[in-house]
Subunit: 296 residues, 6 copies
Amino acid sequence: MMNRLDRSIGALVDSYRFHGLVNHSGGDNLPSQAAIQDILSGLNELLFPGFREYSSLGHDTLQLLTAERVHHLARELIEEVEKSVGFSVRKGTFSCGNRSCHAVAELVVENFFEEAPAIRSALAMDMDAAFRGDPAAKSAEEVILSYPGFEAIVTHRLAHFFWSRDVPLIPRMMSELCHSRTGIDIHPGATIGDAFFIDHGTGVVIGETTVIGKNVKLYQGVTLGALSVRKEQADRKRHPTIEDDVTIYSGATILGGETVIGRGSIIGGNVWITESVPPDTTVYVSPGDQVVQTRH
Amino acid sequence: MMNRLDRSIGALVDSYRFHGLVNHSGGDNLPSQAAIQDILSGLNELLFPGFREYSSLGHDTLQLLTAERVHHLARELIEEVEKSVGFSVRKGTFSCGNRSCHAVAELVVENFFEEAPAIRSALAMDMDAAFRGDPAAKSAEEVILSYPGFEAIVTHRLAHFFWSRDVPLIPRMMSELCHSRTGIDIHPGATIGDAFFIDHGTGVVIGETTVIGKNVKLYQGVTLGALSVRKEQADRKRHPTIEDDVTIYSGATILGGETVIGRGSIIGGNVWITESVPPDTTVYVSPGDQVVQTRH
Amino acid sequence: MMNRLDRSIGALVDSYRFHGLVNHSGGDNLPSQAAIQDILSGLNELLFPGFREYSSLGHDTLQLLTAERVHHLARELIEEVEKSVGFSVRKGTFSCGNRSCHAVAELVVENFFEEAPAIRSALAMDMDAAFRGDPAAKSAEEVILSYPGFEAIVTHRLAHFFWSRDVPLIPRMMSELCHSRTGIDIHPGATIGDAFFIDHGTGVVIGETTVIGKNVKLYQGVTLGALSVRKEQADRKRHPTIEDDVTIYSGATILGGETVIGRGSIIGGNVWITESVPPDTTVYVSPGDQVVQTRH
Amino acid sequence: MMNRLDRSIGALVDSYRFHGLVNHSGGDNLPSQAAIQDILSGLNELLFPGFREYSSLGHDTLQLLTAERVHHLARELIEEVEKSVGFSVRKGTFSCGNRSCHAVAELVVENFFEEAPAIRSALAMDMDAAFRGDPAAKSAEEVILSYPGFEAIVTHRLAHFFWSRDVPLIPRMMSELCHSRTGIDIHPGATIGDAFFIDHGTGVVIGETTVIGKNVKLYQGVTLGALSVRKEQADRKRHPTIEDDVTIYSGATILGGETVIGRGSIIGGNVWITESVPPDTTVYVSPGDQVVQTRH
Amino acid sequence: MMNRLDRSIGALVDSYRFHGLVNHSGGDNLPSQAAIQDILSGLNELLFPGFREYSSLGHDTLQLLTAERVHHLARELIEEVEKSVGFSVRKGTFSCGNRSCHAVAELVVENFFEEAPAIRSALAMDMDAAFRGDPAAKSAEEVILSYPGFEAIVTHRLAHFFWSRDVPLIPRMMSELCHSRTGIDIHPGATIGDAFFIDHGTGVVIGETTVIGKNVKLYQGVTLGALSVRKEQADRKRHPTIEDDVTIYSGATILGGETVIGRGSIIGGNVWITESVPPDTTVYVSPGDQVVQTRH
Amino acid sequence: MMNRLDRSIGALVDSYRFHGLVNHSGGDNLPSQAAIQDILSGLNELLFPGFREYSSLGHDTLQLLTAERVHHLARELIEEVEKSVGFSVRKGTFSCGNRSCHAVAELVVENFFEEAPAIRSALAMDMDAAFRGDPAAKSAEEVILSYPGFEAIVTHRLAHFFWSRDVPLIPRMMSELCHSRTGIDIHPGATIGDAFFIDHGTGVVIGETTVIGKNVKLYQGVTLGALSVRKEQADRKRHPTIEDDVTIYSGATILGGETVIGRGSIIGGNVWITESVPPDTTVYVSPGDQVVQTRH
């Protein structure tokens, strides 16, 4: 057996050389999936102290814990952001100018922590929208402890920060970690307004150039997608705009970069939309096309 | 950099004070997500000894292992249930009467273990339904080791026990842990009869006041939901009733608290139902509304 | 409390004896979920060295690391495959002939590592298909680091190897681990050609006897399923055939073992198909059956 | 490099075959060092609840915790004792009669837990002796939390139980784990009376056939050893007898199986004794043989 | 077996009630051994950054890492010091005055970190003494990475800080953790001057009221102990004074609170001293009392 | 509190700059204590397969396991040896000639594994010496599982290999890890012949330039040390030579680089020797200088 395995080892090592696309061993380093996962967990603990621990936090240890967490996360983030920015520089899609990539990473991370209280404020509004929007929600605490739709918007607001600073890979790694846990796939490039809520959430897809207003509510299986998927159109707005106070029920599909769902509209379950809908409009599937047969 | 971070730390600590809704630091304690996850794993090992371990269990160590597990899980459960019940007492939605919350938690947990053999019997029927209902199932062992639909009903029967004893937070935390792993979202309040099976399962949503009979089978993407989502109707029956021997195919949506799917009916894929269906009825989408174009 | 718990312990231990189906304690051993998860992680690291680690790999340590990983994974795989094959032998569905189950397991695992470079080549084509097929994909590295559709095809090509060698349980355990993480449910029995890509992916179901050609692309929520789910038809081809260069948009459902989607066809979102479609055909839902009402 | 390593691997595997003494691979199993270490830790927690945990134990969880620990430790102990007894049976130094080794192990372990309260009583006396005997001891809690001499007698009373039931290997593994942590080497065969205390302790050696009375106190570096170390005398009493109320100061050496230190005697530091000492005797080194030179 | 174990569990739980001295379950909490061990490791990393990690530290992450470590260790230390001080208050040996025990703990810990740079300066001198004093030392790095005598003085200078602030239990727990690892037993109460070095170290004992000057060097097995061990003399100076520039060779024993070893003296191996020695004196064992016999 | 801690953090970071000796942050990297500990554990498992695991090893998995371990340990060792050699190069005490330090490290490690079977042969002789030399030893397995003297010679033979190849730091880190666990301090430079045994062992010190023949046996507390400890004599032979078949009892001290203990001699307990002893000589302490007083 050892001889056969030794030949397989040789063949695998050879294959590492020839399929450059599938392998970056020996090259420069990429951000680590495990590190991004740890950072996401740490940011959640920083944003919601007392919700992820085994026991309650005394008021007086909270200050020490916050300082420890910020310094720890800053160090981890700088390392991963520096690797990501360096990747962009090698790809030729980013330049650090006359700064080092490390200095650029430090600036991004400093700025992130300055924004963190504002992100908390936005999440407080999201949490409130979830509580108000779901009759089954018994308390605000239940939303924070168990709602996948709330986890999705928390992750999105974090990932979107790094996306908006031109940090590659990390935002997408964050959003896909959340996709894996919640079944909700929000591209980190999407722009999402205040008080956003997704109920149940499995199967929701929100594309890169989507723009969503305030007080929007989605249900499971909603797609906000592109009509065209040609690579050469990657720089255009390919996904729809959803104005304030819109509700979109489960399984609805809204496609196209010029499609606008007007303020206050209600999109029914399973509806398929590729053109704009004016404000205060209700769209639903006509129930007439179903066959009902009773056996005897 | 240190000065900027120090200012961010101060701003975060301040924000903990002002957004009461998003933070319970320094207050009383809530059940821990990590503890609920450990408890769910432990209960799975208790219910299916020999299926989650690396090696087979001798008959004679099973008795010692069961005693160890029950005492361990009892201790963990009492602690988390006590925190949950205390949360309800603070919210004013529950009273422990002249007992301590700890004593109430002990009673719930004692009762849980008394019910555990009956839960195992119910799950044996569910497992059998899965094996009979899926042509691809090669063995009962395969169902227990790998079927997400079986994992979902196991978790539901556990979560529902605590829901039915007015324990808050924990049932929902359990069901959302399962939702994250399986894509199946069953509210712990739902009432589900014997021999229940969900195949594939991703995207299934079963609402809080749903009532499901015996021998019911669902496919992926089925929604058993509410017509109205106004908070003031939270106390009503908002979700449908599914009678015995009903099969509901993928993507079907059944809404409304007064909607009843009669015994023995078959609901086809993608069907949208908001009114009751009599027994022994088949409902399916008319295939006529699709356009077929061939290119030349 | 102790007395009540002691009685519950006794009742549970008794129940282990009577519900044979739900319990295999004391019997022979089954493959371990935790071991299969470790093996899947290890195989990913073997196939994509440098993508899962914290830091970059020097060229010269890659050889040592590969040898270590192959020997480690070989040992783990032989153990789990031997348990799986032994399970089939006890079920009467497999015979090791005049070899021991251990020897059979060794042959399967040796053969697996001989195939590993070819699996890598196939995955390079899948990765390329993902990069070309998604306008939002910024780099090949992003695909490997974060695309659930790529994770699904990686897992499928591994699971399918063991399926094709008649190893039970393990392939399904692998595919369900992936289903849990990605929401994509590909039965390990499915035959899938080169350059396959699933975008977003949540809710995709691909059945056991599905046959898929080259350059096929699926979106979220696509079902390739069976018309009949009667157990006695388990040996037939129950799921459709998708020929080369087909694209199937989100939510489409294609059912039946004799249903063939001809080469180059495009199946639109939410389409429901139970009969064959000729080559170069486009099928889409007629948009006429939706009601649009504007409020005043 | 790979070729040279492959040759070394072959040579090592060959060497496993030829040096039977240094290798038992493929043979029957021996008790595990890691398991014995876990068991020792667990027994310490069982004997001194509340002293090894992070937080205080409520009175009411103590009962559940004790039941969990006893069942867990019983299972672990039975497994290791069975392996040890099986080793003796293979060596021909022990027979399980008409019982299985597993049954013999169960009896030993049941008996151990029946003795556990009596061991606790003995240790309470040892703890008291430590507190009274050391002016630097500020509290009983300090003794339990930090005194190596107390850790040594705790371990000895546990190891001696298994020694006295003819369980091989495990007692010696326990005593050497303690030797490693404390520098105190008590052979598990030694017989030690109530209220025993060793201060500081590093370098103490107490041989297999030593007999020690009540209220005996030793300091660091004391040896209670053998005069002859010939293998053929292994069955004789080779180590001294120390009667009640004896104190032995640091570095003293007392040798020989017929050497008796009479009740109430005091043996001074660095004294070397190979013959018996009558009761109520003080022995010390004459200070006359040291040279004192002052430099100018 | 279960019945016998259940009886043993009951007997153990009963014994927890009766042997108050050996058990504090249900009472207030004591500092945790595991926490003190973590704190000691953390303080070592803080004092010697770059020596305990896997990889080298960039200058620029050192600042973030230091801030993280200080805040983390401050939080851990405050918790353990508060428990220790509370223990003293319950014993009646300490009063927090009009402050809370938590406030007292905060003051001690703040003060500790203010002293930390001075402790580092002292340790730099100790390190230098080790390097100069051992011909086998090849580099300063070797001392920090591997010398038990250096580990012992590091631990002592930390433990002595807390001893000098009347924090009970913790200093002794620290010194005994070090005793276990190094075989060197320094009571945290001992006063030790600059540039102190212990070579090899196993078996060294330095008592509570010992006073040691500058540039003192000890070898393995040296005891600086008490003549009287009566509890009622616990408040007196019971251990010797060692003036500056003294060297004490292996196995020497120096006893008594009024015994002073004068500046610059050299105490030879195995010497036994109970009275003062003037400055610049050499004391050694007369070699005349050994018997040399040659066999023929 | 935060302000005071912030000042302390600043002061600590400043101190890292000024005490160069105590800190190497930001410089090149040193071998990691944790890595050396893992390597030592791994080498023990490689040398004694089946003795450190929980369960017995089948003959057929041993080959795979050995290949995995050798490749893993080779990778770990090369990394740590490279760091160590680089340290020597920076100190100017070593030159890699026209090779890279990595290439030098690879050669050392390749050579190590080629020597590994010979090290195993030597350890088989040591094990046999231990079993024959201790009447209390019941089996060879007991020696391997629990004898600190055996652990010490295993570690020494490994550390000495790297010492003899001019690898700095690592050998000393290995020997001090063993010193911490066993109380036996063997400098890795010492030359030790076949069939060496140390009984009990606590307090044994064997200096850097000691030379020991075959069949030598030591007891606890034996020192083989230097007469002069002046740094300028570091290159001389400073420690004694012990010829074949010598036994040295507990507490004996033998000093000086020109001191030779002749073949077959026996050195009694507590003897102090600074000059050579001819072959076949017995040396012991005259028992006449002890005072025996009986109280009445």
